[in-house]
Subunit: 344 residues, 2 copies
Amino acid sequence: MNRSLSLPTADRHQPALSLSVIFAPIQTELAQVERQLFNWAKASSPALRDIARQTVSRPGKLIRPGLFLLITGYFGYDNKDKIKIAATIEAIHSASLIHDDIIDSSALRRGQATAFKAFGPEFSLLFGDYLFIKSIGRALDFKNNQIAKILAEASGQMIEGEIEELAQSFNLELTEKAYFKIIGKKTASLFQASCRLASELAGTPAEIKSELETYGFNLGLVFQIVDDLLDLKGETRETGKSRFSDLREGRITLPLIRAIKTWPEEQKKKVAGWLKRRHGEWPEPVVSFNDFLLELETGGALGSSLKTAEKLAERAKACLAKLEASPYQESLIKLTEFVLKREK
Amino acid sequence: MNRSLSLPTADRHQPALSLSVIFAPIQTELAQVERQLFNWAKASSPALRDIARQTVSRPGKLIRPGLFLLITGYFGYDNKDKIKIAATIEAIHSASLIHDDIIDSSALRRGQATAFKAFGPEFSLLFGDYLFIKSIGRALDFKNNQIAKILAEASGQMIEGEIEELAQSFNLELTEKAYFKIIGKKTASLFQASCRLASELAGTPAEIKSELETYGFNLGLVFQIVDDLLDLKGETRETGKSRFSDLREGRITLPLIRAIKTWPEEQKKKVAGWLKRRHGEWPEPVVSFNDFLLELETGGALGSSLKTAEKLAERAKACLAKLEASPYQESLIKLTEFVLKREK
């Protein structure tokens, strides 16, 4: 098959957004967060040090601690524990990624070997446990006991979301409603919690607090839908992750759900046949990923998923309307654009 | 090879101790703990219910919650949260077992299929995460914030111990000191925490509190050494676990450390050769487990390990000397005997 494939992308007429510009108001704090993560890794017991350096002390985009710091910054909240809380949020995210990579047998993350690849599943499993527990344990040392509660609740939600997603693998009947429930838990919950923690600490009025939580939640949904799309159309050298891993794992993402709806019965059966191969064994070269993408795009599933992400991004931004204009508020708006348009 | 093998056992002239007799003073509470675990499993989201029923709601010997309840019982401490705290201790223990079974690829536990065997590694990994996080999350709901701190700390220690043990796999140079450090963390920490929680809640004077913690810690060490011995000499139909799993995983246990010390260089090399086979691949039938046991027993390593366990059990019991005579104190003494002499 040699049909040409043109994938939809978000509008790129605007100049590319860079995270370093968006995070300019919290640049110093984010550097301190990175240092904190590095120091925790360095202080680990010898058996943990290498794997800690490979994972936690090589942080990614720092979007979740960035959210937390932008909101505390907006409210002018400062406290000696602020950096540690932000670093704890990122450590929980790392713990979850380390376990994800075991489940997906992923070799690549952020362009580097995953802990799973470099240290094996046993070590990665235990180190993920350690990071989860240690992070909640650290949160217990903060004076405000809401911090640990919010983080434990979000962690529980993340894991529940992962479990529900796993239970629905290869289920071509998965509804959009169920999909959104899953990604709400697995991804949006920690975005929301990052905003909630910031409002909680700053003592924000309930109304603004609720708007900011809704902002974080919607931003998380956008993040996940774009992630789904990047798994299909992203280039490994850009994303730093293996392409098509969702398909390999039988993960039912939004574009797939949308495509299935538009397909005639015959096409549905054909694709179901491809997907129902044994876990992890994509039937390439029987069917190329490119052919699969073409099948997906027949009914405009990729474009319509991106449209949904755009709508959710608008909804997120609308939640910021009650904040006063300031560099922090501006960064929160730009962050939404970045999450929508990111290519990695 | 057909040498006959007579393994040392603890003195069994006394009538066999039964846990139901030992736990008689807390029989009602333990039944409530089992019901609580069952109800938590039942209340899980549908994707988790089956695996929760397979694991948490089929509790084992309940030694850790038993310890907690005997000590709170001794002090006459009662509180509506007591049962939930005891159940949370057991849930943390279960989480750790679920992950252990993945690491060891164990098919059998308590005579039943493990979660790993019945639900696969991905599901078991996430469910273990869920149990760990959910347990600490539940502990955060108790009024006394020390509860969550003690449980998070013990959980962290358990995982650290597991990581250090894994890092030392197949290391025939492991010292006894390092071994005791590992089992202190991986096993004794939760025994100790169970005692500490009980004293903490009952507001026990510092001196008694410290004695009870030392009791729990030593009891945990005894439990682990006996576990090491049961892995070598226990019958699967008794223990409900696969025999020789420590050897298969290259786990260096006390009897092995003791044996190595007594071996001439040639014998050491031979056994090192056996052990250094690839992870999980015991070279049977090249060498039978029986032959390996004979090599171990040459210098009396099994008997001397049991002696050490007996000494530690005495040390544990001595810590109870300051408690007044009562059915609870008597049960704590008997529990020490049970842990030492158990055959499963």
